[in-house]
Subunit: 202 residues, 2 copies
DNA sequence: AAGCCTATCTAACGAACGTTAGGTAGGCAA
DNA sequence: TTGCCTACCTAACGTTCGTTAGATAGGCTT
């Protein structure tokens, strides 16, 4: 058990995390000042430091939480599609990753957009958990490869990077208010598996 | 007069742009201070302001240049593949965009990574040129669609977003020092056209 | 030789930054 | 009722930020 039910104690802390993650997502880590985060929460900048040791600490917690949201989504998709056909399993995991990006708070999207330029010590702390998440995808794609769902000459490493990169890149253009997440998931799944080429014309 | 041949005059200015773009790429726009940029160039911070009006101005010039590099690469690919088969034309333009990202200075990569969180007035200034570049891709994909190279039910808008997003996302993991750009271009072209699915197993 | 222009410098400005010290008010426990 | 603990506050710290003013040194023009 990692996530407690929201109590009065954690409410203030979680409010700070929510607003900080949203601001980091919109403006970037450096541009979002502690004072602006505090203002969004409705408190003074100094009060942030009752809950977190530093601004870097705040970012670290947010990046970890974003990764946790992804990982939980992935695991849920795995158990939900145990024994299902390969393409269905892939579709479910793609949909799960996109749901983590757009339907479970700003944490995953913030992770995706701010990790690359995060302070080095923060990045270093996050890397193991990040590797673990990527390993989940490697295992999934390897399963699909050995079961014959993917072309035998598929390079799993690059395929994983392109798939995750493609999904994450959607934060640049996909607006969950305007588009359906199911449509997006279907689009990416279809394009990943079958591509754009017209099979009738070669 | 907009672009002069490189003289001793513009050399200092271009040095500043190079170092600034590299730092913006590595650390982000806000984290890279004018003093650090000046230090990388080998001058004092105040000297930057002999060449640029403000830090925002510096970013704006860099973003524009990144877009110009992309556009020139696209146009070169277009003229180089006039009358060529559709898939070859697509491959050439993918390769051109990736070359702009990795082989023509840090400008295009910096554009891709910093545009989303750039100050709003800077973003506003850039948008028209950005729309023009995306329109080039829309035209190309529409050509491929009407000539039957792409599946008739291809949605060109999302396809363009996914293709550009996928290529741009490679800046997160592709290292031009370690990997071949031709390999990357081939990988993305192949995956875009044909996907990962094993055609022998449905 | 005189004057100007370009490119840089030193020095400093006010503002904003992350952060700390110390205080206060309210709830819970003894 | 007293005392403590949590969650905030006000005030301020030293640092760094983007930026400006003004000086200087070297080269080109006349």
């Amino acid at each position: 058990m990692t996530i407690a039910e929201p109590t009065v104690e954690t409410a203030g802390r979680d409010r700070i995390l929510d607003e900080a993650a949203s601001l980091f997502l919109k403006q970037g880590y450096e541009a979002a000042s502690v004072r602006r985060i505090a203002e969004a929460v409705g408190m003074q900048a100094a009060s942030i430091y009752h809950h977190f040791n530093s601004k870097e600490d705040l970012l670290e917690v947010i990046l970890h939480r974003g990764l946790e949201v992804m990982t939980v989504a992935f695991d849920d998709a795995s158990t939900a599609t145990l024994g299902a056909p390969g393409r269905e399993r892939l579709a479910a995991h793609i949909r799960a990753h996109l749901a983590a990006l757009y339907e479970n708070g700003p944490y995953t999207a913030t992770h995706v957009t701010t990790f690359r330029t995060a302070p080095e010590n923060v990045r270093t702390t996050i890397v193991p958990q990040r590797d673990a998440y990527e390993a989940l995808w490697t295992t999934l794609l390897n399963d699909l490869l050995t079961s014959g769902v993917l072309t035998p000459d598929t390079a799993v490493g690059p395929a994983r990077l392109m798939l995750l990169g493609g999904m994450n890149a959607s934060v640049e253009w996909f607006d969950p208010q305007r588009g359906s997440l199911d449509d997006l998931a279907h689009l990416i799944t279809r394009q990943t598996l079958y591509g754009l080429s017209n099979p009738l014309k070669n």
